[in-house]
């Protein structure tokens, strides 16, 4: 029973790492393939920046800020 415990552990090590490596190696290949296909099909330019709505939000905020500032500066200039 105890020997079987050790052998179970060895099995886990063997099949576990085997699966992990197989899986991630396949994923490396698939990802490379995917990237190439995507680039082939879409001529879209790459985007490095964050795509999250955070950006959109802060852009909006900034636009408003800039507008407010413009108004303030105009007033300041006028005065």
């Amino acid at each position: 029973m105890d020997a079987s415990l050790i052998s179970q552990g060895l099995d886990l090590l063997l099949y576990g790492m085997g699966t992990v490596f197989t899986f991630l190696t396949l994923l490396v290949g698939l990802t490379a393939l995917m990237s190439r296909s995507v680039m082939y099909f879409s001529k879209e330019e790459p985007i490095e920046a964050e795509m999250s709505s955070h950006k959109i939000h802060s852009t909006l905020v900034e636009k408003r800020i800039v507008k407010v500032i413009q108004a303030a500066i105009d007033q300041h200039r006028g005065s």
Partner: protein
């Protein structure tokens, strides 16, 4: 007078067992580590507090509800009882957290350099050698772990809290407290555990290797990647599909650009609420009889070993890749393969800067870092699959 006796009899002081007092102290120590030492506070504050609450004698935080013969509620259960059974035993909370983590994960660096996935694979060696260590301890009669316990302990080496909680709640729920605490504590200790190992296994020249700047990654690639990963998981290892499926779902919401309001809520309100309750629920498993025993010491020791082996394997794998390929990678980023996002990547960056103050490895280390999340979810899947059949 009778009332005074009843009040006294039901007071904590009159009822407290030594084990409960010690466990409350353990809870306070976790709070101290989280607040003063900055150990993964988002989880350890709720876990520590939950530990204290669960061990208050007579407070019934962990009590099951009582129903009469007709099914009417006679006395409600405790808060932690409901949290544990609704969210942790069912696996829902770790899965929702994984969705949130997916929505917070930027796969850009990984996509720019996909072979760093192998570093994330190598770092999982720590998981499986630790399983072997645990069964060896059992074999030699030092401690008493079943194969299910050993598998749960190994997963600490994955350096990924929700994965560890998900696996342990399925395989050996009694160890949940100890394993979750070990997982989060070691994740917090990454800046202390990893650097000596990284330095011992690399030469100064290796640590100075500069890596080429990452190519920009298109939006389309970012959208297709989680779907690719999902298909691969579905075809090869469905046992990893709950964790990785929710992870990919979160990431797709993040990247697809058309459901930003869902992605924002997933990254904020939803993951925060679930984190609080997940932590409290884990705390409810921190009872004296389950935590204060030699096995916990074994778990802590084995967890540390798992971390060290994982770190070493990542670094060695990077060196092996350098032998076989022209594009050299700095072996320090291999250590980030254990996950512990983003701490391990920062550690790799810091150790790299010590060797060469102009060599910024952070973005390069983010690749293996997120690969480590995938790697340990895959390891979790294969573990659940194999152990269930043993």
């Amino acid at each position: 007078m009778e009332n005074l006796i009843s009040l006294w009899a039901s007071s904590g002081l009159a009822q407290i067992a030594l084990g409960q007092a010690v466990m409350m102290l353990v809870g306070f120590v976790l709070l101290y580590l989280a607040i003063s030492r900055g150990f993964e506070p988002l989880l350890l504050v709720p876990i520590g507090f939950g530990t204290v609450l669960a061990n208050i004698p007579g407070a019934g935080f962990d009590a099951a509800p009582v129903y009469d013969a007709l099914g009417h509620l006679e006395s409600p259960g405790g808060l932690l009882y409901y949290i544990y059974h609704a969210g942790i035993e069912t696996g829902l909370f770790p899965l929702i957290i994984f969705m949130g983590v997916g929505a917070m994960t930027d796969f850009g660096p990984l996509l720019a350099n996909p072979k760093t996935l192998l570093l994330g694979a190598a770092a999982q060696v720590g998981i499986f050698t630790t399983v072997l260590g645990a069964v060896a301890m059992s074999h030699f009669g030092i401690l008493d772990f079943s194969i299910r316990d050993a598998a749960s302990i190994g997963i600490i080496g994955g350096a990924d809290g929700p994965t560890a909680i998900f696996v342990t709640s399925k395989l050996s729920p009694d160890l949940l407290g100890a394993i979750a605490v070990a997982a989060y504590s070691y994740m917090a200790l990454v800046p202390i555990i990893q650097p000596p190992i990284m330095k011992a296994l690399t030469t100064d020249a290796e640590r100075q290797i500069a890596m080429v700047q990452l190519r920009p990654v298109s939006k389309a690639e970012r959208i297709v990647f989680p779907l690719t990963l999902l298909v691969l998981v579905a075809m090869l290892l469905p046992d990893a599909a709950p964790l990785l499926g929710m992870f990919c779902f979160g990431n797709l919401m993040r990247e697809c650009g058309v459901v930003n309001r869902l992605s924002d809520t997933t990254q904020n309100a939803l993951i925060n609420v679930v984190t609080i309750f997940l932590g409290l629920g884990v705390g409810s498993k921190m009872s004296a009889e389950k935590f204060l025993n030699p096995e916990t010491m074994g778990i802590l020791a084995l967890g540390a070993v798992a971390f060290c082996i994982g770190t070493a394997s990542g670094v060695l794998m990077a060196k092996l890749m350098n032998l076989l390929s022209k594009d050299k990678v700095n072996p320090l980023i291999g250590a980030a393969g254990v996950s512990a996002v983003p701490m391990a990547a920062r550690v790799a960056n810091k150790v790299g800067l010590e060797a060469n103050p102009h060599n910024f490895l952070l973005m390069h280390a983010m690749g293996p870092n997120v690969a480590g999340v995938i790697g340990s979810a895959v390891a979790a899947g294969v573990m659940i699959n194999l152990v269930s059949g043993m």
